[in-house]
């Protein structure tokens, strides 16, 4: 029924816009092929019968806020009647006429299982505004207008965009996308001594990175607290500051804080809750409660603290991830906190 030439469709014209818009237009073109007519068409079609009077149809159009309808006779499509046809009858003062007298019997139809592109071809090459949609058995299953196509494509573009945004924001696909025998992501930060204003910035970046990589909030919290304590120790106690290094692997997070002095005189003592060598000035800032190392031990699975006076300190921390906590798309963050 719709053997219309397709030399210059609207989509091809649209392609000439700008380079910037080209990406989007390409996707729109793709969608015109991908989307099936049944995905965008209007399903609950208002229909009329050949015997209905023109005035009745006018009332029906006004109530349903439509400007055309397929004409069905014993469930078979026999034509289409639009507001233009009704105007013709009114101009002749032929208000008592029936639908059968004014309908267009040359109906162009499309198939529900065809791509949206087929409907677009018809719209651009004829002046037809609405196309009845038939299924495999020639039964009328819907109607499609340009508005339906636009809405359908916009809807799909929007959900594409949202899916892309979510994926971009959450970098959790990283570990699936990159294949190796052992993949890890390493983050490094340099910590300056006595930089209380920026203290915690590295920890904040680390916690955010873990969440973006798909870590569950409890794991991110444990890492955040442990590394924050370590970062503040570098700021409060070190001579020249230090370095933080985080290695993220799908099954494990390894954190390391290293400095070159002054070193801890008595590591055993330093680990005891409440023990602190912090000055009064530092305590006024809210630190030096002597809980730092205890907090770290509480948050991570493995801690190793090596220190030599005059040489420096090396703190290593590891968190092992359980099977359901490992990084990646399959394990979206879930709030398991109570």
């Amino acid at each position: 029924m719709s053997d219309i030439k397709t030399d210059q469709g609207a989509l091809h014209v649209a392609k000439k816009i700008t380079d910037g818009a080209a990406g989007l237009i390409t996707r729109v073109e793709e969608l015109a092929y991908e989307l099936k007519i049944e995905e965008v068409m209007t399903r609950n079609v208002t229909t009329v019968t050949p015997g209905m009077r023109v005035v009745e149809v006018l009332d029906l159009f006004r109530e349903a806020r439509i400007s055309g309808a397929p004409v069905l006779s014993r469930n078979k499509l026999v034509g289409i009647i639009s507001i233009e046809d009704l105007i013709r009858s009114l101009r002749r003062g032929d208000i008592e006429a029936s639908v059968v007298d004014y309908l267009s019997s040359q109906v162009i139809t499309v198939r529900s299982f065809d791509p949206v592109l087929e409907a677009l071809k018809v719209f651009t090459q004829t002046r037809v505004g609405r196309l009845p949609v038939l299924d495999e058995t020639e039964r009328l299953v819907g109607i499609i207008t340009k508005g339906d196509v636009t809405r359908g494509i916009l809807r799909t573009l929007e959900s594409d965009y949202q899916a892309e945004e979510v994926k971009r924001y959450r970098a959790s696909h990283l570990f699936e996308d990159i294949v190796s025998d052992r993949t890890s992501l390493i983050l490094r930060y340099t910590i300056k001594p006595r930089d209380f204003i920026h203290g915690g910035t590295a920890s904040s970046y680390i916690k955010r990175a873990l969440l973006r990589l798909g870590a569950n909030p409890q794991i991110a919290r444990r890492c955040g607290i442990a590394i924050y304590e370590a970062e503040m120790n570098l700021i409060i106690h070190t001579t020249n500051g230090g370095a933080i290094r985080i290695e993220i692997e799908p099954h494990m997070i390894s954190m390391r804080a290293v400095d070159d002095g002054p070193g801890i005189a008595n590591v055993e003592l330093a680990r005891q809750p409440g023990y602190s060598t912090a000055s009064e000035e530092i305590r006024e800032l809210g630190f030096g409660a002597g809980m730092g190392l205890k907090n770290i031990e509480r948050c991570v699975d493995e801690v190793s603290l090596e220190s030599a006076l005059g040489k420096g300190t090396r703190l290593e921390m590891k968190i092992h991830l359980l099977a359901e906590e490992t990084f990646g798309e399959l394990h979206h963050p879930q709030d398991k906190e109570t």
């Binding site: 209380f196 204003i197 203290g199 915690g200 910035t201 920890s203 904040s204 916690k207 909030p217 919290r221 955040g224 607290i225 924050y228 304590e229 503040m232 809750p273 305590r283 800032l285 809210g286 630190f287 030096g288 409660a289 002597g290 809980m291 730092g292 205890k294 907090n295 509480r298 948050c299 906190e337």
Partner: protein, 121 residues
Amino acid sequence: MKLQELLKLIDGDTLTDDTDLNREVKGGCGADLMSDVLASIQPHAILLTGLCNPQVVRTAQMADVAAIVLVRGKRPPQETVELANQEGIPLISSPYGMFELCGRLYQAGLPSLEKAMTETY
């Protein structure tokens, strides 16, 4: 308890922009030493503190604190407010002292979200 309701109980004044007053607060914690906060607080608590430096916001962020209340009408330095805005953590000032505030909130049914030191992970 919603932040909105909590604000009324403590005559609180929000210092951050666009504060989400529908945010749910599950309980409370009061401390001035940040390591004490990190050691004991559970997620989604209100943090009552007398400390006003930016580290309060960093600590709150690490510990998943729902909002910070500065006791005794303290006004924090600008960098604290800026960081709180940046990290989306509501910052509130209340004229009352720590004991009074803890009492008001506890009496209104807000539980303690401080873990006792005997508890281990």
